[in-house]
Symmetry: C2
DNA sequence: CGATTGCTTCGTCCTCCGCCGAAACGTCGG
DNA sequence: CCGACGTTTCGGCGGAGGACGAAGCAATCG
């Protein structure tokens, strides 16, 4: 109890399995109702309600009442960032007490990481953009090259809007399943929006998984170049 | 217990006050003995021993036996990074259940953040380097300008060594007390080493606090330029 | 060689908290 | 209005785990 109890409180809040599952579900970026989160966490409604009250009181999630539903979402990217960091630690350090569930392959392949893409596909995309000279990672810092800027402008991405805020355009976000970086930042977010809008990927109705559609397969392959292994072998395992 | 128990395990590990205090103490970057950590956490030796066993089994800390002492340290920058993230969340979200203790002003002023400097001084340093055109933060990505490279070379910093590894040279690390970024990465580390070697700052014998020595005051002020407010006025001021 | 110090293991106590069922509150639909 | 549904509050149960003292090893010192 000397100087830093607050960090313990926050960590303990995340440290309960039920609450961790809820937060993990919210990593998909969507707002979910208390009932959905209860199911996601594998607990009854009263239990979930208590957990959610504590999470929102601590400011980790925000709640919005809508009719008889209450929608919860993460209170910001910083929360998501810490959660991803914890996943990284868990992947690096933990024995895998988590028996690899049936849904895991789909998650490993493509998923949302709060507001951008993660998983095999995201890592490939990142490495493809690097290989094509559209991104550069000098000194470990990612930035968009001139070629990359014209590429995304041609795709219809409004780069100046993405650079308006305080949040960086490009950020290397360590993928906890692949152990290699993928693209975060506002550009990462824009790419996910882009891909969803063009039906290249379809977010799972619940959960973080992303399904890559056939046209998406073509489009993404064009983005990442032909040098990349065809994905077809890994698609369609463990439907959901 | 659905898909993500591992993150809960790690977070729960950090979520105990005694363990959190130990990890916080290790954020100073030094290796500490079990006894020191017990004192730091405010628990007896047996309790501390149990906690440290769990922390090292989970891979959050590394242990090295030396005579009858056992030295513990954080297992890597990723652990420190997650801890800093948690501190940020705690500062942003938490009601301040932590009454601002007497030691806090010193910590706010200058402290170590695992292996680089944090606190008021570190933020000033960062902003001074930016203002002088030695660092550039285009697109939210920090990098060293040509002027900056010559500056640090002249100071005797071996930049190529710093760029050798996988870890980035410059990283903007959010300062949880100042809520503004300071400099991390290998350059951040080198600056701390530099400042310690030249007796500009003196690490507290225990804890993360850094004391700025009178010559250090001169030197750092020269680094950050005269435009920066003298430190004397802001010492002991709280809040933001 | 015996005393001291640092750390761990063991056994025990005890508090905390996560879980649920039952019931209350509110919203929506007939 | 009344019933269905989503959510919260309440009360009680049970288990996990954090705390300590005493004792056991191991290394250092006189």
């Amino acid at each position: 109890m000397k100087e830093g109890p607050s960090i313990a409180t926050i960590a303990a809040l995340i440290g309960d399995p039920a609450r961790a599952n809820m937060l993990g579900a919210l990593m998909a970026g969507r707002a979910l109702t208390a009932g959905e989160l209860a199911r996601e966490a594998g607990v009854r409604a009263p239990t979930a309600s208590g957990h959610l009250a504590r999470l929102s009181e601590a400011g980790l999630v925000l709640v919005e009442a809508q009719g008889r539903h209450r929608y919860f979402r993460l209170s910001g990217p910083d929360v998501a960032h810490v959660l991803e960091g914890l996943m990284g630690l868990a992947a690096r350090t933990g024995r895998l007490r988590t028996r690899p569930g049936p849904r895991d392959p789909a998650l490993r392949q493509a998923r949302t990481c709060y507001d951008h893409m993660a998983g095999e596909w995201a890592v490939r995309l990142y490495e493809g953009l690097l290989a094509d000279g559209r991104l550069t990672a000098a000194e470990g810092q990612v930035s968009l090259t001139e070629a990359g800027r014209s590429f995304f402008r041609a795709e219809g991405v409004d780069l100046s809007a993405l650079e308006a805020g305080r949040r960086p355009l490009c950020r290397a976000c360590l993928d906890w399943s692949e152990r290699r970086p993928h693209l975060g930042g506002t550009l990462g977010r824009a790419i996910l929006d882009h891909a969803v809008a063009r039906r290249w990927v379809r977010p799972s109705t619940e959960g973080r998984a992303l399904t890559v559609t056939p046209p998406g397969l073509m489009a993404l392959r064009a983005w990442v170049g032909d040098a990349v292994t065809p994905l077809s072998e890994t698609i369609g395992r463990a439907g959901g």
